[in-house]
Symmetry: C2
Subunit: 226 residues, 2 copies
DNA sequence: CGCCAGGTTGAAGAGAATCAAGTGATGTGG
DNA sequence: CCACATCACTTGATTCTCTTCAACCTGGCG
């Protein structure tokens, strides 16, 4: 194991190193056991940028707490969110050598950072990179299918996806704002909000608070997905 | 080089083997020169299926002539085209071990087929797979951005993309139908058609025939893309 | 010549965006 | 501890884009 550093945020998202260690990879590989690779830890305040578009993509990031979004801002101000990353998920791997999107903390988040080159000395590393790339591709392809659907279908898909990812029964605590959801689904915040209240009126969901959503009728949501 | 077979189509798209050889990979790799890997050739009639969704994804396909589309049909009959593949481009690589979409010949097409496992005996093969996967991911991410745009923006993006890929000056011969274009862009054929005539009326393009498109004002198209 | 698939055009309608106002939660300073 | 400011979300009215439904071209091809 190599030297490790942890980085903590200041108020404005500045980074302060402090010693730490942690595993990069989430899934134990049956053949070899879990892989742990030296890295540094960093904390980011809500909305702090983790990296910017077009910066060299020489690091990988694993969320240890909080939530991260990757997003692209178009010239006319529209914003597109490519993905949300929850604890245990890894982001930052790009098809090229530069980041295609920026990454930001949706809520206060901690990430483990590993240099891509550092890791190349470990066996099975290439396998892991391929696995991550595959997952990104699959995610992107599912996202594509999402964007050709109607608003209720998109929202239903999103709710079921989030529910499956946080797996906490029928109650989902969304870490992200309506704006984030809207930019992920390719809708406006008004449409997202209206669709949610519509679901609530149909008793498909309950909304104890804006970000807490109870799935009361999963079947109805699944029927929507088509 | 291993034994090679070529397969030709019958009227209904059936396959008849015949000896042949050809390179799988398009790009010469500077360090080692072009890689050529044994494979079989096959021809497919217009609209013939090359593989179906959920079939094992154990082969790679390189288009040698014609055009191929990958598509998914949703339960309600809507169809989504994930990508078009032109001569020289490789398709069939999936994030999992099953095809996520089916592949069909847009027009009569010839493809070179290589078994994924066959190829593992060649050096640099893993690199090549990674490169292909990267390209797919990039393609998917650009497609995502497309789908959050307006109809004119999508059509303009599509025209410029096709023009760049066939690089035959300002004249583009589209191999695919309006339906294919529409299903790729997430629009209806009527909207695609209307948008094209609108471009024509603005002298941005000319339409000598339905499938032949002359880009008269690339700048106007680029301005649209935002 | 006439058929037929693919493409275009028109009119009407639906769905989401936009514009605008209101409500509710959160946080801050007096 | 409360008043107020701010931000996030919701709701309503209107507009606009794209879809839908329908009719009509057009170009190959028997």
């Amino acid at each position: 194991m190599l030297t490790e550093l942890t980085i903590q945020r200041s108020k404005a998202g500045h980074l302060f190193p402090r010693p730490m260690r942690g595993p990069l990879l989430a899934e134990p590989r049956t053949s070899t056991g879990p892989i742990e690779i030296a890295g540094s830890r960093a904390s980011f305040a809500r909305n702090a940028q983790i990296y910017r578009e077009k910066e060299p993509a020489d690091r990988l990031y694993k969320v240890t707490s909080g939530t991260v979004r990757t997003c692209k801002v178009l010239v006319d101000g529209r914003r597109h969110i490519g993905a949300f990353y929850l604890p245990g998920e890894t982001f930052g791997l790009e098809p090229g050598d530069r980041h295609m999107a920026s990454a930001e903390a949706v809520i206060d988040a901690e990430v483990l950072i590993v240099r891509r080159c550092t890791a190349s000395t470990f066996p099975f590393w290439d396998d892991e990179l391929t696995r991550l790339m595959s997952r990104e591709l699959q995610r992107a392809q599912e996202h594509l299918l999402l964007l050709i659907k109607t608003a209720p279908e998109r929202v239903a898909t999103f709710l079921l996806e989030m529910s499956a990812r946080v797996r906490s029964g029928d109650e989902v605590e969304l870490p992200m704002s309506r704006r984030d959801v809207a930019d992920y689904l390719g809708l406006t915040i008004e449409t997202v909000s209206r669709t949610l209240t519509q679901f609530e009126n149909q008793s498909v969901i309950a909304l104890p608070t804006a970000k807490r959503i109870v799935l009361r009728n999963r079947l109805a949501l699944k029927r929507l997905i088509a």
